[in-house]
Amino acid sequence: MNKIVIENLTLQYSDGTESLHDISLDIVANATTVLFGPAGGGKSSLLRCLNRLNDLADVESVSGRIILDGENILDPNIDVIALRRKVGMVFARPVVLPFSIRGNLTYGLELAGEKRKSRHDEAIERSLKLAALWDEVHDRLDEPAIALSGGQQQRLCLARSLAQEPEVILLDEPTSGLDPISTAKVENALEELKKLYTVILVPHSVQQAARTSDFAAFFLQGKLIEYAPGTEIFTNPQNQRTEDYVTGRFG
């Protein structure tokens, strides 16, 4: 089942940098879709369209449609706040807010006006377990989040998005700054997450793309070159440029 349908998406920033040209892509629910390719290809820009975080950037023009559950999220009249609760995001560098671990996890709920402590506790336990962080921090939830290691911070950021029960999770190179053990923990967590959510991942390497993808889309200079199930694109790419990139001939 398609969770998100992207139709002819074209995006241009005012300073002329990184943009998207006529992207059409169906994103399947309860699967991991990987957006990969060399830097500057438009992967992050596409991610930031999916929760309208691009509203904060200097966007010159956007055209096309992004249909999420039957609703065009590029429509200026949609409820952007509700969209962002539904589409969670994890950034490349872990950004923990300057609060306790608990404060980070309940931040989104508090923004939404949820004050009940029982709901907070429930969300904390559920999201930390999903992000494979519960065992490491459950007995020190009131310590400052900044005291955690980099890998723990990134899983906390993941848990923070999960705490508001999103339906789609966007991850922008979430393991780029992490050691292999932390990376494995995040990847394992993603494997569990896709049973519940639609996961869209910009990986930090082709290897990670191959490991984690159910579907993979190859982006080059703002264009979608090839889109196929992961098992096909990494073993039998149809496009020459995809093959060159996957086999390491450039990038």
Binding site: L53, A82, F91, V95, L97, L111, S161, Q164
Partner: protein, 287 residues
């Protein structure tokens, strides 16, 4: 040959450092000298009666309570007007306004506002608050005049404190479904608060020590009682110091320096509080 060159360089280096050290000392000495001189000259005048009593015998005896209380009221009044206005303006400029001709104009105005001589503020306050708005020579008029003078300091330090909060905090908060205001109130403001408080105190400290802006707007030569309402004129430490130093013949010198000492303690005290808040916040900062 090389050795000689190195020696020369060492010598030049040493000379340069010595010169810089000397220059630094030269800037510090007058400050320390002034403070010590005022303490030595003023300390004998300080007594319980001096702090808590009213002036007597044409201000040549007694205390300076009305001036102390007056400066306290004026500082408080300045805070009431300038703090909310200044912080709100800074939030607007830093968090909401986009870079355009209007905001550049506003910033330019704020910078220039900081450069206006304080006596000009006094004249402006006389025209607007005392006469046009008919608040009279009062604490209200003087506080409002001091507020206008203090605003640029509060706005620019607050803006700086807000900008120092990492942009990534805002992005994360918004990506979690926060509105712009929720993001500011819950994440940005608490992190910027120590910087804001420091700026506010430094601004108010300047207001507390000013004479010219209150000269025409609220300061009284002599009052035998404490002010009862914001519409009363008041005595104030800096103006009182001016009066007893120039307007009253045969004024005992200790009372002059005693008054200067009290004003100095008042202002330096605020400075110390600002410094403590800043260093405590730096130690606790999590980014």
């Amino acid at each position: 040959m090389n050795k000689i060159l190195t020696k020369n360089r060492d010598l030049t280096q040493k000379l340069g450092f010595s010169l810089l050290t000397l220059m630094t000392l030269l800037t510090v000495i007058p400050i320390i000298g002034t403070v010590i001189y005022i303490i030595v000259q003023g300390a004998p005048a300080i007594s319980w009666e001096f702090i808590t009593g009213f002036p007597r015998e044409g201000m040549r005896e007694g205390g300076i309570l009305p001036a102390i209380i007056g400066t306290f009221y004026l500082t408080l009044g300045t805070a009431v007007f300038s703090v909310p206005l200044g912080i709100a303006a800074a939030i607007y400029l830093s968090e909401y306004a986009s870079e355009n001709r209007l905001t550049r104009l506003i910033r330019l105005a704020i910078i220039n506002l900081a450069g206006i001589p304080s006596v000009v503020y006094g004249l402006f306050g006389l025209g607007l608050f005392v006469l046009f708005l008919n608040f009279g020579t009062s604490i209200l008029s003087a506080s409002m005049t001091l507020s206008i003078m203090t605003l640029p300091v509060i706005i620019s330090t607050t803006e700086e404190a807000l900008r120092a909060v990492p942009q990534s905090f805002r992005t994360v908060s918004i990506s979690l479904g926060g509105t712009r205001w929720q993001t500011i109130r819950r994440t940005v403001l608490p992190q910027a608060l120590p910087g804001i408080i420091t700026g506010v105190i430094l601004g108010l400290e300047r207001a507390a020590g000013e004479t010219a802006p209150i000269l025409f707007t609220g300061a009284a030569f002599f009052l035998p009682r404490l002010p009862h309402s914001p519409f009363d004129a008041t005595m104030a430490l800096p103006y009182h110091l001016f009066v007893i130093s120039t307007q009253v013949p045969e004024m005992p010198i200790q009372i002059q320096y005693g008054t200067a000492l009290v004003l100095l303690v008042f202002v330096l005290g605020m400075n110390v509080i600002a410094t403590i808040i800043r260093s405590r916040a730096r130690a606790k900062r999590q980014w």
